[in-house]
């Protein structure tokens, strides 16, 4: 668990981060969202002390990070950079092995762990001896992710990790990112300026502006209970798509028809409405089997949309 208390960073008279506080639970994915210059990256970099704060404290699992040496602290926190920051003079294998080398693992263990991650991140064995400049942008970003994950740190900090990728590659990596079991056990703080990405990957979103937190909450909170006009207008352009992404099927379970289907279990109702809609397309089906708390229902496309709008209307009138 990460607890940030009254954290500030001033550059001269400019207050890049102005006394912010928040908490991130175990295995939670918190997204720091905002425009350029809002202080989100500075906040992130203060958590592994790449930037030393002007004032305030950060606790990871109850321990004050300023009581540890920065090197030791950083070896226990995974870090992924926007421009991957891979060492151009190291092979892929050597790049991934940096932290284990620093932690003085033995060679066999390093080799095994690197091979394991390469496989999980869909990198071929042949690429082990390749240099970063011989890889595509997506592959480089996966190597960057592998490097951050290799020592299995409980906390992962990600600074616009997918910002340099094209849209197609990005959505592919998003899917992999969500599916990767290694990431499910991590507490993650990720910086992005991409609203879609924030809604897709975040458990909670912390929207920042001018060094302060404007609103922190689940994607649905931000969409349906914006605290002010700033939040509303920040999300306006992609509102519909965001809403599909912010609402999970289990949230509208009660609005779905009770057409029961016995037998097989179906999709987990934990998925968003957006990915439910995508499933109709990818499975070319009229109906989807969706399971929630041991109950499986067969749901049609129209039924899902209708239920979603009912839910939306209900929220709007709350």
């Amino acid at each position: 668990m990460i607890r940030v208390e009254q954290l500030s960073k001033h550059f001269g008279s400019i207050k890049a981060v102005d006394g912010i506080s928040f908490e991130v639970g175990d295995r939670e994915k918190l997204i720091l969202l905002g425009t350029s210059g809002c202080g989100k990256t500075t906040t992130l970099k203060m958590i592994n002390r790449l930037i030393e704060p002007t004032s305030g404290n950060v606790f990871i699992d109850g321990k004050n990070i300023f009581d540890q040496s920065p090197e030791i602290l950083r070896r226990g926190i995974g870090y992924v950079l926007q421009n991957n920051g891979l060492f151009p003079h190291y092979t892929v294998g050597e790049n991934i092995a940096i932290v284990p080398q620093l932690l003085k693992w033995d060679g066999k263990r390093i080799e095994k762990r690197v091979a394991e991650l390469m496989e999980k991140l869909h990198l071929s064995k042949d690429q082990l001896k390749a240099y970063p400049n011989e890889l595509s942008g997506g592959e480089q970003q996966r190597v960057g992710l592998a490097r951050a994950l290799v020592a299995d740190p409980p906390v992962l900090l990600m600074d616009e990790p997918f910002g340099a990728l094209d849209n197609v590659t990005r959505s592919k990596i998003h899917a992999e990112f969500k599916a990767l079991d290694e990431l499910k056990r991590k507490t993650i703080i990720m910086v992005t300026h991409d609203v879609q990405e924030a809604f897709e990957l975040g458990d909670r979103i912390c929207l920042m502006d001018k060094g302060k937190i404007v609103q922190i909450g689940t994607p649905a909170d931000l969409l349906f209970k914006p605290v002010n006009h700033f939040v509303q207008s920040f999300l306006k352009e992609q509102r519909l798509q965001l809403e599909f992404k912010a609402v999970r099927i289990k949230d509208i379970w009660g609005l779905l028809p009770h057409a029961k289907k016995t037998g097989d279990t179906g999709l987990n109702a934990d998925i968003t409405v957006w990915s439910g809609l995508e499933n109709f397309k990818s499975q070319q089906a009229d109906h989807l089997n969706i399971t929630h708390e041991n109950e499986t229902r067969s749901v049609g496309f129209e039924q899902l949309i209708t239920a979603f709008y009912k839910y939306q209307n209900g929220r709007a009138h709350e």
Binding site: E71, R74, N83, G85, F87, H89, V99
Partner: protein, 524 residues
């Protein structure tokens, strides 16, 4: 010397021992200084990337050092470090510093910020970041700096021979003072080839990819040290007495070549500039030096001349040489000039030279004092019956003689005098006389014979054994060939000579060059 023009190839083959030795010394000098420059420059370059405040000062200072002319820098080094390898290396390393510091700085500050941030975020400490990230990534740029420094050093190292540090400059500057093109090329071509070779090899290193750069970084220091050690291979030679000769003396038949062939004397001399040789002998860095028998520093540094018992050094009796048309035009001139004839002996000349070269009295004052003491000085007549143009070469003795002649002519004749002193060397002075730009200058019989007339070597052998024969030969040949008259000799013989410290020579009982040879043979 006219019978057969030696080719460059023949010269290089004949001198292959020396050529090899000089090349090794040259490589050694280049790389010793380069290693030290890297050892100083690399950490300094790294340091100023951490303390940006000092980068301007450090780079500025190194830049200023770079602009000091190399000869001047070597000159500054002599009072501080004496002669030989030490000042040469310091001077060379000062030149090598700038490219190394600058490129280290540029290379390290040029490392991608994201890569540095990643290294930091992985938990590397500052040393790990330096050695694992910054230095490897800056290496191509740093190597480019080392490459530049190497090429500069190969060039500047040619000047090391001025201060007895050896290298290919011995041939180059020996060749220039002897007007021997083969000798110049025998030094210049290998020096150029070394520069090209090292530049090429380092450029290979520079473009190694990352796969090989680790090996490259490891082998480079080893290679540098091996190359640097070349300097010390030749120094395994050498006898008990250390000899130092000027580049000119090294290459002359009436110099070291004659010592080897006629006396069988092999002293493995180091090559050193005339400017510092005497002092080096005085300070016991050298025991035997080549010099001129009337040099003022003989007296200043308590040196004595070894007797040339086998007569390999031709006589260099000084006498004014005058255009015959000038003698006709100015009839009183000859008598005035002859007033000095027979008046100045070796020891007197040496004393006069001592006063100008060492006590730094003006040549005019020295000339005036001498004439006064010999009752030759007469009040000036401020005549306007014609003008005598007097020339001189560019060293003290010639200035003194030119001043004396000026005073004698002005006191004893009704002629006016203009002087053109400081005419570079024999060739320039003689050309000025021959082309009627001056009327007279003091010349030496040996120079007239060997540098100007250059008769076949057989004729030389028979001539130089006898002073009068030499004088008569040059007098008649100059008259016939150039219409120039040799007046009566002044008296002293400013010949080449081997010299030792008086005290040491007495201790070892060495009076002649043959004594020296016997001593060296019995004390190997």
């Amino acid at each position: 010397m006219n019978e057969h023009q030696q080719t460059l190839w023949e010269f290089m083959r004949q001198q292959s021992d020396k050529l090899l030795m000089q090349t090794l010394q040259h490589i050694g000098l280049t790389f010793i200084s380069l290693i030290i420059a890297v050892v100083i420059g690399l950490p300094l370059g790294i340091w100023i990337t951490r303390k940006k405040y000092f980068s301007g000062i450090v780079l500025g200072t190194a830049g200023v050092l770079q602009t000091i002319p190399s000869i001047a820098l070597l000159g500054f080094m002599i009072p501080l470090l004496g002669i030989g390898i030490k000042p040469a290396i310091v001077a060379l390393l000062l030149y090598a510093l700038l490219p190394i510091i600058r490129n280290t700085y540029t290379g390290i500050t040029g490392v991608d910020v994201a890569v540095k941030e990643a290294a930091l975020a992985m938990g590397m400490n500052k040393w790990q970041i330096l050695f694992k990230v910054e230095l490897p990534l800056a290496m191509p740029v740093i190597l480019a700096g080392i490459r530049t420094a190497t090429v500069i050093n190969v060039g500047v190292a040619t000047l090391a021979s001025y201060i007895a540090a050896g290298g290919l400059g011995e041939f180059i500057f020996g060749g220039i003072s002897l007007n021997n093109t083969n000798m110049i090329l025998a030094g210049a071509i290998p020096a150029a080839l070394l520069a090209i070779l090292f530049d090429f090899l380092l450029s290979r290193l520079q473009y190694f990819n990352f796969r090989k750069i680790k090996t490259a970084t490891a082998t480079l220091p080893l290679l540098l040290i091996i190359l640097a050690s070349f300097y010390f291979i030749p120094s395994a030679y050498g006898g008990k007495l250390k000899a130092g000769f000027t580049p000119e003396f090294m290459g002359r038949q009436d110099g070291n070549l004659g010592l080897e062939s006629k006396y069988g004397l092999k002293v493995h001399p180091i090559v050193i500039s005339d400017a510092v040789m005497y002092e080096a002998a005085y300070e016991r860095q050298l025991d035997v030096i080549s010099g001129y028998s009337t040099d003022g520093r003989l007296k200043a540094y308590d040196l004595i001349v070894l007797d040339d018992d086998k007569k390999i050094f031709p006589p260099y009796y000084a006498a004014p040489i005058v255009r015959q048309d000038a003698l006709k035009r100015l009839p009183e001139l000859e008598n005035a000039l002859n007033l000095l004839s027979g008046k100045i002996t070796d020891s007197i000349m040496s004393d006069l030279n001592y006063r100008t070269d060492y006590l730094h009295q003006s040549p005019e004052r020295v000339a005036e004092d001498f004439l006064k003491s010999h009752r030759l000085l007469k009040p000036l007549r401020n005549g306007s019956n014609g003008t005598v143009r007097i020339g001189s070469k560019i060293f003290g003795e010639q200035y003194i003689l030119a001043s004396m002649y000026t005073m004698l002519i002005k006191g004893y004749t009704d002629y006016d005098v203009t002087t053109k002193t400081g005419l570079g060397g024999t060739k320039i002075c003689f050309d000025a006389l021959n082309n009627n730009q001056i009327d007279l200058y003091p010349e030496y019989t040996g120079t007239g014979l060997l540098a100007i007339l250059q008769p076949p070597s057989k004729a030389i052998d028979s001539l130089i054994a006898d002073n009068n024969k030499t004088y008569n030969y040059v007098a008649s040949e100059f008259g016939k060939k150039y219409g120039i008259k040799w007046l009566k000799p002044i008296g002293f013989n400013n010949a080449y000579a081997l010299m030792m410290r008086e005290k040491q020579a007495k201790q070892l009982n060495i009076k002649t060059i043959s004594d020296l040879k016997r001593y060296l043979e019995s004390n190997p």
